[in-house]
Symmetry: C2
Amino acid sequence: MVKRGLNRDRLVEIAHEYVAANGLDALTMRRLASAAEVTPGALYKHLKDRRDLQRAMSDAVYATIDLTDIDTDTPTVAQVITCCERMRAAMLTFRDGGRIVAGSYSPFAATLALSGTLMRLLQGVVQPPFHPGDIQSALRSYTTGFVIEEQAYLELERTGEWEPLVTALTAHFPRANRTGDTISIMTGERDRRFTAGLTAILTGTVRPDPTPQ
Amino acid sequence: MVKRGLNRDRLVEIAHEYVAANGLDALTMRRLASAAEVTPGALYKHLKDRRDLQRAMSDAVYATIDLTDIDTDTPTVAQVITCCERMRAAMLTFRDGGRIVAGSYSPFAATLALSGTLMRLLQGVVQPPFHPGDIQSALRSYTTGFVIEEQAYLELERTGEWEPLVTALTAHFPRANRTGDTISIMTGERDRRFTAGLTAILTGTVRPDPTPQ
DNA sequence: ACCTGAACACCGTTCAAGT
DNA sequence: ACCTGAACACCGTTCAAGT
């Protein structure tokens, strides 16, 4: 009788390791079981079903976001941007992190902490006629959408499907030149473009931070 | 020997009908085959595999977007908003439309038409220091992310999981009151909130349309 | 309380054979 | 060219039985 030490959190950890190595589509309950060196049936003592697994994986992604250094008592636009960048970073550290979060049908469970601090910051900087709730929603939707797109690109790049796809598309749509803005969206400078989007949302909707002289 | 009339497009149509009735997670190749009144093996004459099916379904979503009345020669902010609202509407008309698009790993195939007109419009209205490509990317990411979140809510509502989830969350997080901005994000006024997000992105980044006197 | 073994009703995909 | 029938190697989930 071995001390197994197997539990829900450890299972979620193993699941993320498996996805990191093989991608989300390759993850099955049976393969998770064998990765955990356990029989398939044993999983169901810790997880309700496959959906429950993905929800738990989604929560684990958000749990890596550290917000302890965010000071909600002195709200700044810079801190708002930091929150969103950490949200993106959290999803990016997990392969298929965007799809895991988006497909979990659990848009709130662990996101509440992030949503809360974001709201408190925005309440201090958003200016009329805009509402903090709308801006918070927009920032979260944008971030999720952005990461899903960039991870889609990363997956295609990984499997070598990206190049053929682009050449096929440029053949069919001559106007979409590879270096132009339409296709090159993903190829480079993803960090810069992400922050540019954040700035676009915040410009005109928030009171700018006082520039330290 | 019956004239079957079965082809790729018809198969994609049947797939969307099946998803509309049963949800994306219930769609399998075998069930698609039986809905098409055909043997499972027959599918593979029209579809490469399951991934190919989802990519084709994603293309079908974008194909419903009508942009013929958009005049790219006289670009306006109003037309930019119309494009994004049509993109959202297209995804919303298909159950799980957001997940289908997001999970297809095909962010470009049929989106190129939309991306192109959006780019041409933005080139006429975006003002420095912002770049049309960045704003286009931001608008698309935001729209995709927004629809995924609202359809996640719609699915939970459909299955009756929404109410228990909210009551469980409010018990754990007393600060997230149901009528407050954190949780009520989805419950109502989704149209208004979507447009508010678009406006947030565009305010400060584009030259406003001349107001007709 | 946690795990195994075995079973059940499914999957996706391939391929010779038919028409 | 398109479809069937049958097969292969898998799935998710349940549950009596063991420890």
